[in-house]
Amino acid sequence: MKWLASAHAVGGQEPRVDDDKVNDDESEKIEMAKTHILRVVGIGAAAALVLGACSGGSTGTGESDDGSISGSITVLTNRTDIVDSVFEDYAERFREVHPDVEVAFEPVTDYEGDVSIRLNTRDYGDVLLIPNTITKDQLPTFFEPLGTVEELEKTYRFVQEQAFGGDGYGIAITGNAQGLVVNTAVWEAAGISEPPATPEDFLDALEAIEQETDAIPYYTNYADGWPLSQWQGNRGTIAGTETENLLAASEAPWTPGEEMHELDSLLYEIVSRGLAEPDPTTTNWEESKNLLGSGQVATMVLGSWAVTQMRDAAEAAGGSPEDIAYWPLPFQTDGTFRSVVGGDYKNAVSIHSENKPAARAWVEWFATESGYAESEGGLSPTVGSELPDTLAAFEPLGVELVEITPAPEGEEGLLSDIYNTAEIDLWGNVYRQRLIDIARGAADGDMDTYFDELNDRWGAARAGVTG
């Protein structure tokens, strides 16, 4: 979606894989920047509006006597690009099942920014995607519980990601795996056809691409910023399902052997060895898709949502969509690759909705019947479904899919409190941009001094938050 959401993946969101999805929309940079500026203005303005906001909202009758549901619901969506086409079809098909329900869509360009501000009012639609800025303990304030986690997990995956106090509040619209998007034609031109299994092999492979081909081995997308947060989506690849709890418990995550150190030092090495684009400050997300699609760039770290977009770009650039593949990151545990999977945005029902049964019916129908996940090349949010063809390379490699364990009760906000207090934006772009600046010699210091600084800030913030 957007680079914006991305972009600015604003917010002290809970670290979740879906941040990326936010980004994958085709939203434009301009829009984003604009909305960002507006948002600044909006802080105050929104606050002002809150004062005068009264309870608007939909009208309707809810559940009628015979048990069929009726009423009209408003659905907020970030997919401004397909709201008038694909989503209208969804509404049509939904009406066949629930003829008495009227569905209206409200597309939101800067979804993260606008909706998190709108949550301060009572008027934020009947069905909406839970913004990433919401912490788990805030869920009951804004959303209707959809059932106990146990109950929901019989049908849906990724329920834990938006659960609080044993209740689930959101159902994923699709799911993503994490890893590398590669142009296999370029990799093969450099003589490599298998995903490297260690960081050293990976760096050697990038060197080979640098020498054997004209392509840029790795593209950081530094200027747009949000693609850098895709690295964070891969936490768990090394540390496993408990990664977030381990991170919250760590005093110094940038110590050799720790996952943050391994991931960030790989990025550092890529840049310091000159294997990334020469001027990172002028990159462009939309253009990067064409670069990868046409083989001018070999590799990027992105969520699996990017594969369909890259294949489209490859086709538009006259290349072959089959060249675009999705590989796991070059880390193995006991000889097995791992890839983190997680839900994208979750559909939820507003606690202020006047047609909760109808809203709920939409949430369930969207996950089970709409086919949205398949059309996006994502993992289905329902239990027991197969891998999408975008992840075809995972099967022969025997990649183990890792689902991150959520924080235990009472500590849901701990991790975000630590990184917000430390002002280390794990899910943003600021601290990794600085890492890249240091790696390319544009800022003072080296990897060790920077990691020491990060450790100090983290340790101090953690002591403050837990103390």
Partner: protein, 313 residues
């Protein structure tokens, strides 16, 4: 409109028939007419400026994250944090680049305004050219200049035509990035200063120039003794705007670099604090501090250059 179109005699007749109440109503209306016109703009001003600013002061004393319905008061803690963390203020060094740019911008604007207030060939054309950038949306400018500055972009291609084969990375080189951004800012805002100066210069009565011509004054003398004193106030205003603009520069660096690579400004940092780190309370305090700094600088500037009326006699 209605009164204008109604027949004159009838109007007179009404006035004659009931002179006293009519006149009273008239007085009442005339007293409130200006306010009537002002209601809409004042409402906007209050709702979109003063109410948010008051709210901002209130937020700055809380630890609000921007979403939580509860805003926990924390007293002066946010302000203490701002003044005990040197890195928050270090970004003001970046403002120096924009301050130098602003000075250059004022000089250029004044130069062109003076030049084009005389009879120059194609003067309206040049006026348009200079003012045009100010009309373009700042986001569009940011994107255009991103392409302008990128390796192999417009600037490099132009330089290559003059034989410069190894241009620096305009945005990638940390020692150049702020210069490039400040230059973009000068390009964009010079038009505004130019128009302000031009308007002021043209309000100077023509007779003064004629008299000066008769006395055989040179162009420089005309500028020094007629134009400069005549537009002193507007120059003072422009200086204040330039200083506060340099301190609160946001749009262009935010769009072009997002504050990366050492181009972070105070406002970008405030935005990051509020929306990346969910610390709206602290960010509000930063905004208040910036407001106070700008007010203080304005006050000092007014003390140094008192607001006397332009005097041409």
């Amino acid at each position: 409109m209605v009164t204008v179109t109604s027949p004159a005699p009838q109007q007179g007749a009404v006035a004659a028939a009931a002179p006293v109440p009519r006149r009273g109503a008239h007085r009442w209306v005339s007293r409130f007419t200006p306010w009537l016109f002002l209601v809409v703009p004042l409402a906007f001003l209050v709702v979109f400026t003063y109410v948010p600013v008051v709210n901002m002061f209130w937020y700055s004393f809380t630890s609000w994250d921007g979403i939580d319905p509860v805003k926990e008061p924390v007293g002066w803690r946010n302000y203490v944090e701002i003044f005990t963390r040197p890195e928050i203020f270090r970004v003001f060094l970046v403002s120096l680049y924009y301050l130098v740019g602003a000075a250059l911008q004022l000089v250029l604007a004044l130069y062109f305004a003076t030049l084009l207030s005389f009879n120059t060939r194609f003067r309206n054309f040049f006026k348009g050219i200079i003012f045009f950038p100010y009309l373009i949306n700042g986001v569009a400018i940011g994107l255009v200049f991103l392409y302008f500055f990128r390796p192999g972009g417009t600037l490099d291609a132009t330089l290559a035509a003059f034989g410069v084969t190894e241009p620096p990375m305009w945005l990638g080189d940390p020692s150049l990035v702020n210069v490039s951004l400040a230059a973009t800012s000068v390009w964009r805002y010079m038009g505004l200063n130019f128009v302000l100066f031009l308007g002021a210069i043209q309000s100077i009565p023509n007779e003064l120039y004629e008299a000066a011509d008769l006395d055989g004054a040179s162009s420089w003398q005309k500028f020094r003794y007629i134009i400069a004193p005549g537009i002193k106030q507007i120059i003072g205003l422009s200086v204040i705007l330039a200083i506060s603009g340099a301190l609160s520069v946001f749009e262009i660096p935010f769009i072009m670099t997002g504050g990366a690579n050492g181009s972070m400004t105070f406002v970008i940092q405030t935005v990051n604090t509020a929306f990346t780190f969910s610390r709206v309370g602290l960010a509000s305090a930063m905004a208040v501090v910036l407001l106070v700094i700008v007010l203080v600088i304005t006050w000092v500037q007014r003390r140094i250059v008192p607001d006397e009326r332009g005097d041409l006699s």
